[in-house]
């Protein structure tokens, strides 16, 4: 078994919707399905909802046609809605429940959302790229609306009345004129209805227009919130199975190191310990974690490794630059440069950082009669399923991946290593195995946010307008790489050298780095043009959504007054940006503490717009989370490495934001009921770092062009 880290599927960096294609068909048979889900009527997913969004790029081959049941109305009246999406803290459980409740005319509490059990739910694609809101929510609403219209048609037919005289409210179908009424539970007893439901739902059932929304657009709380505050929700590492063993995996002492030899005898001699070696894969399982650790330590001592050269974090940017085949792309706008009034060229850096979700990667795997079931925390259940079928050469109907609501992902949990490792151990042990990565493993072996080296060059004409714009991202990808600002000529391009660390998407992908560089560079250009940073941006922005959020943020923050106030070591800065169809602008005030060489972010005003708001409280929480999470990579977070080892693989060495970092927050959600809803869990992170950098310049006259931004005195 190959355990060398590979990068997360490359496409994820470019387009997160695309996951590894799995070229097979599978599904539990209907009888088994009904056993699991209970008696009642079932409606199948209509017209390939999630699949339509995947325009084929990179996904070659057919998507699996899995169990496609979408909605089940039980004889007890409980409505189960099936989705392949995952709850990782972004709030999709509430939002998707709202969508179903709205269309079925029931209370959210009457809906049970069954998420990400590949044995039960349709494949809604990877939970990433803020796709749950724009893609899955409409799919669920469509199916729910179809279910409603079938119920209406059926009731109307039973009563011999016209369909448009039948109303649906609170889970009941009513004919007012004759005062007849039927609850969903009653309808679900009907075998005839069951037959009707067993056909794919009509796709054209009308969904509720926004002006009639009763549940969507409101702050419906997390349906399983009570389980979270009582500790009764079982995350994947909390899953208990009979005869469960705990696993541990032998990790290489450094990146790229190869195992040459190992003596397994010391562990084999231990009672109740299972030891597995399969190529480079070595792991143990034992009745307790402590015992497994002991066994692993005993054999790790005997391991001989062959190490591989690896650059240090100090030299990583030179390494990346040198790794670009044929060198960095040249600025194609030579004429504009030579005729320019002013030319500015700057280099920006963003360090490797970790997602560090609070729940480390974990999985429980169980084999029974040649079937494999895993419980694991992932954003990509069907992708995992594919990984498992390939690794264990199993037909897909023999693998089931269940994803309990997961303790954070932030774009970092796309690959299935913990599940594969647990499954391999469980196979050898012939008992279920629970595997939980340690924090150190998580900081070392999980995907990193890619480091970025960014070169920006622009020419200004005599009027201070951008005549040409050239922007090159090395290593971190294309998200939000294109400038939203008007420029006479513009080219933005990216180069992918060989990366020294395994990287994957971070919250908002490369756009954190691209937007940081662009928005800092815009500030530098404004200064070169002798213009105010706000006015300079506005002068280069067409009317539209980005301009709207920028103006709104500036107004709320009182930018035009505050930029004039000169106070020692205090300053204000702003930044804006767009990604994945949503728009953000932030103004920040910082104070520079010279004695501690520390940037204190005192006040952040952020305006965010992502179309019609589905759940205001949840969206606000996402925006708050993004801003505060963004403070980490902006100011402190960096994975340091040398000799192939991570030097700060702990929360002590790698300082994430805490309560004491909380700035005063003024968040405004700009609702656009006239526009389709898109996700809000990512883009709000992209404006905070450049706003802070620009504020630091206003305070000190010093430009900080590297993430994390460490003021110069501390650099030595």
């Amino acid at each position: 078994m190959e355990t060398n880290p590979i990068n997360c599927p490359a496409e994820i960096l470019e387009d997160e919707q695309i996951i590894e294609p799995v070229a097979f068909e599978f599904g539990l048979n209907r009888r088994v399905f009904v056993q699991m889900i209970g008696a009642g009527v079932l409606i199948t997913a209509s017209a390939k909802p999630a699949l339509a969004q995947r325009s084929g790029r990179g996904s070659g081959g057919a998507r699996p046609r899995n169990v496609s049941a979408r909605i089940h109305i039980g004889k007890d009246g409980i409505v189960k809605v099936m989705t392949g999406k995952v709850e990782v803290g972004q709030g999709s459980r509430a939002e998707l429940t709202q969508g179903a409740a709205e269309e079925l005319r029931v209370l959210p509490s009457q809906i049970q959302l069954v998420m990400s059990d590949t044995g039960l739910v349709p494949d809604d694609g990877n939970t990433a790229g803020s796709r749950s809101t724009p893609a899955t929510l409409p799919a669920i609403r469509q199916a729910a609306a179809a279910a409603r219209s079938l119920l209406v048609a059926f009731a109307a037919q039973q009563w011999g009345v016209e369909q448009d005289t039948v109303q649906v409210r609170d889970g009941r179908v009513t004919h007012a004129a004759t005062q007849r009424t039927l609850a969903y539970a009653d309808l679900a007893q009907s075998d005839e209805l069951a037959k009707l439901f067993n056909q794919p739902a009509p796709a054209e059932a009308p969904i509720t227009p926004l002006q009639d929304w009763k549940v969507l657009g409101t702050s419906v709380p997390r349906p399983n919130g009570r389980d979270l505050v009582t500790g009764t929700h079982r995350f994947s590492s909390d899953i208990k199975r009979p005869d469960l063993l705990r696993g541990k995996i032998l990790r290489a002492p450094s990146f790229g190191a190869k195992l040459v030899s190992i003596d397994l005898a010391p562990a084999r001699a231990m009672k109740e310990v299972v030891v597995v070696q399969d190529g480079q894969f070595v792991g143990v399982a034992a009745p307790s974690t402590a015992r497994a650790e002991e066994a692993l330590d005993a054999i790790a001592k005997t391991a001989k490794w062959e190490s591989a050269p690896h650059p240090s974090s100090q030299e990583v940017f030179a390494y990346l630059r040198d790794g670009v085949q044929g060198g960095l792309p040249k600025n194609p706008f030579a004429d504009e440069l030579s005729s320019a009034n002013k030319v500015l060229r700057q280099t920006y850096h963003a360090a490797y950082v970790q997602h560090a979700p609070m729940e480390t990667r974990s999985a429980v795997a169980e084999w029974r009669d040649g079937h494999l079931t895993v419980w694991t925390g992932t954003q990509n259940p069907f992708g995992y399923l594919g990984e498992l079928t390939r690794t264990f050469r199993l037909p897909p109907e023999r693998v089931r991946v269940i994803v309990p609501d997961t303790g954070g992902g932030f774009g970092g949990k796309h690959t299935g290593e913990a599940a594969v490792e647990a499954a391999r151990l469980a196979q050898a042990a012939n008992r279920p195995v629970s595997l939980k990565w340690t924090r150190e493993e998580e900081f070392t072996w999980a995907c990193f946010r890619p480091a970025a080296l960014i070169e920006a060059e622009a020419a200004l004409d005599v009027k201070g307008a951008i005549a040409s714009w050239h922007f090159v991202n090395v290593n971190s990808g294309q998200s939000a790489i294109n400038t939203p600002y008007r420029a006479g000529k513009a080219r933005s391009e990216s180069a992918s050298p060989r990366a020294p660390l395994r990287h994957g998407s971070y919250r908002a992908l490369a756009s954190t780095a691209n937007n940081f560089a662009r928005e800092c560079f815009m500030d530098e250009l404004a200064a070169a043009a002798g213009a105010d940073p706000l006015e300079f941006r506005l002068a280069h922005l067409e009317n539209g959504r980005l301009r709207d959020v920028l103006e709104a943020a500036a107004k709320r923050f009182n930018w035009r007054e505050r930029i004039k106030q000169k106070r020692p070591d205090m300053g204000v800065g702003l930044a804006c940006g767009t990604e994945k169809g949503s728009y953000v602008a932030a103004c920040a005030e910082i104070a520079f503490d010279r004695t501690q060489n520390k940037i204190n972010v005192r006040h952040v005003c952020e305006v965010f717009e992502c179309g019609a708001i589905i759940n205001p409280d949840n969206l606000r929480a996402q925006v708050e989370g993004c801003i505060i999470m963004g403070l980490g990579p902006a100011l402190r977070e960096v994975s340091r490495f040398e000799g192939g080892k991570i030097l700060n693989a702990s929360f002590r060495g790698y300082q994430v934001p805490r309560f004491s970092d909380l700035p005063e927050l003024d968040i405004h959600l700009l609702n656009r009921p006239d526009l389709p809803s898109v996700g809000g869990g990512e883009t709000p992170i992209i404006a905070i770092a450049p706003a802070i950098g620009n504020a630091f310049f206003a305070a000190t006259g010093i430009r900080l062009r590297s993430l994390p931004m460490v003021p110069p005195a501390a650099k030595a």
Binding site: V229, D405, G408, L662
Partner: protein, 156 residues
Amino acid sequence: MPTITELRVNGNKVPLNTDAERSLLEVLREDLDLTGTKYGCGAGDCSACTVLVDGTPTRSCITSVGSVASKEITTIEALAKNGTLHPVQEAFLKENAFQCGYCIPGMIMGLVGLLDKKPVPTDAEILSRMDRHLCRCCGYPSIVKAIRRAAAQARS
């Protein structure tokens, strides 16, 4: 190897037979199936694993079971009584103070421990307790609201 044969957990005497050096976190989770207490770092850096030991918030990942053999341990599972949430849990629920929720049991136990001793804590006291608790979803603003709500309740 020294072993331990009994723990006092959530008001019960629980018989067990295990190595006294194992961490309290591991024993609670693996031997007693009290999985509400979470592993976040195993090194005392995040407080996700906070439980009460004789009423004091304690990081169970860096506490050996042997060292708490004669003490009363309280975990998140014991807070709600007969289906009624503890006021601190209620406050977190009311404020929707969770995103993924993984850090929440530790946060709640830390705050319960503080409010039990100091029903009217100062802001500085709250910060010095809660600043040890990490939330990677960075849901701190709503957690702050929940803390305020819980503290106000404890006062009244």
